[in-house]
């Protein structure tokens, strides 16, 4: 069973000629089949965790370890991590002018699967997945994220999640900026992947709204660069009622 283990992870960024530590010792284990919600206020370091795991060059790991099935993730390049089975659904996916969605998806699937998918089954697979996400087939011929609405970008991220079938999926604020209908559609996509039992999901969110559609096994409160509390789904209810105040105050004085 695939396991992502994060141990005492410290991460810094360079900003205004100064080094700022954002993650201050994160410990977390995500196993295949599990869904972990990471909730926290703005600026708590949730997205930094997501991008650090994916290998974004902006973030410097100062100490700690991340392993996937015992393999050192931090030693891998960004594309190696993806091929090893890590997937990051981004909050702000970038536009890639000149590259069509269909070309992009096929290139990506070829890289991750290690061989080009058979054309006939591939076309069918893409078509069906797009239909389930209520994406117009014409989408495939548009350039990646170019002129996409917020909802289209998120559907496109989840489309990739479904096609690439990672071992560990990190969803960075996939719910932000979505109306209820889009949120349902996107959540259904995530749930289809979860139901296979073959993915461990790290669901990063600011709001509890998405947890109505994607039921987490574990909820972690993220504050001041580390996990401040962990519990079951009931922790999310508590956050819904009380907000993050108790955690941010503690963080500020720490």
């Amino acid at each position: 069973m695939a396991t992502l283990e994060i141990r005492d992870l410290h991460v810094s960024v360079e900003a205004d000629n100064a080094t700022k530590e954002i993650l201050k010792g994160v410990d977390l284990t995500v196993k295949q089949g599990e869904t972990h919600a990471i909730m926290g206020p703005n600026g708590s370091g949730k997205s930094t965790l997501a991008y650090s795991l994916a290998g974004h060059p902006k973030y410097t790991i100062t100490s700690g370890t991340v392993t996937l099935d015992g393999e050192d993730v931090l030693e891998m390049s960004v594309d190696e991590r993806a091929r090893a089975g890590l997937f990051l659904a981004m909050q702000y996916p970038v536009e890639i002018p000149g590259v069509s969605v269909s070309n992009f998806l096929r290139t990506s699937a070829t890289a991750v699967r290690g061989e080009a998918p058979k054309l006939r089954t591939w076309v069918k697979e893409v078509k069906e997945t797009m239909a389930q996400l209520q994406m117009d087939p014409a989408f495939a011929e548009r350039n990646v994220n170019e002129g996409f609405s917020g909802g289209e970008k998120k559907r496109h991220e989840i489309l990739q999640l479904e096609l690439l079938k990672p071992k560990i999926a990190i969803l960075d604020e996939t719910d932000s900026g979505l109306d209820v209908d889009a949120l349902k559609t996107v959540s259904e996509g995530v749930n289809r992947v979860r139901e296979t039992g073959e993915v461990g999901t790290l669901l990063i969110t600011h709001y509890t709204r998405i947890l109505k559609y994607i039921k987490p096994d574990y909820v972690h409160v993220f504050a001041n660069g580390r996990i401040a509390a962990s519990g079951g789904a009931e922790l999310a209810d508590q956050l819904e009622n009380e907000g993050y105040e108790a955690y941010t105050k503690g963080g500020a004085s720490a």
Partner: protein
Amino acid sequence: MAEAQISPVGSTTAGSIAVAAESTVATRMSAPPSFDVADFPVPHGREEEWRFTPLERLRGLHDGTAVATGDGVKVVVEAPSGVTVETVGRDDARIGKAGTPVDRVAAQAYSSFQHASVVTVAKEAVLSEPVRITVHGEGGVAYGHQVIELGAFAEAVVVIDHTGDAVLAANVDYVLGDGAKLTVVSVQDWDDTAVHVGQHNALVGRDASFKSIIVTFGGDLVRLHPRVAYAAPGGEAELFGLYFTDKGQHQEHRLLVDHNTPHCKSNAVYKGALQGDGAHAVWIGDVLIQAAAEGTDTYEMNRNLVLTDGARVDSVPNLEIETGEIVGAGHASATGRFDDEQLFYLQSRGIPAEEARRLVVRGFFAELVQQIGLPDVEARLLDKIETELKASV
């Protein structure tokens, strides 16, 4: 040959110059067009038409110090039947009909060449094979002139290849008879030391179609002026360009479409990718719609993709309209960067960095390459783009 001549071009060309001289497109030039190099002052670099060009890298083409060495370039023309290929002297009447030099180097070339090559496609001849012209630089300084003339309703594809090393100033005249169709592919695949400056004049006959594809990969400095004017109504011009500007290269394309005649069309699309320190691409797109040119339909676009730090693009579209009675006129210019975030996004989907770059660059050029309509040229361009990418980083 007489039947291959087209009707009264001389007066039309002269007329277009007279009107253009009053327009800002023309007045931005430091001297009016002329065949005589003495009519142009030696540029100092601050003139509008020279301000982007590193004069010191012209190796004397601009100030009269570059003397032809006699072994500058070797020109070979391979033509299928239906085509006449001649080498003629300076006084041949067919030279200079399509346009007049607009800057000192073009005039220097016109004033200095010894022999011109004239390729004539007979009236109504439809060529099954392209005319292939290879211009191979042998390391010297050369001045040249090429004329390609199509009789009425003739159809031809001409591929001009530039390779090797040279300091070359050469102009090309394209003269299209009524209803003629000419596609010209000019590939600048020079060694990285070559200097190539030239003015390409096309004079498009009634209902004729001219398609120019300029592909610039090589050279230390390449500066081309593709120019189009119309001899009679109903003409169409498509100007496509593709350049891949590497470290230290200066590649400059200065277009002018002179809509001097009613009911003509033009469409210009130039795309360039740049990579490496000191890579400099310049694109000037001048479109002039004269008062007489009612019913004009024109569009021009320049797109640049900057792949690394240290590269520079100057893109200046300029549309000048003297009549409102037109079908359409537009221009667009945009320069984008392939940045770290795009690379990260593609890599995060398992795509290795080198392949990510290739995906983006191929995508960027694909649409343009598909418009060329010549499968062997398209395949060659895509190969060449791959080679350029491999040479990078």
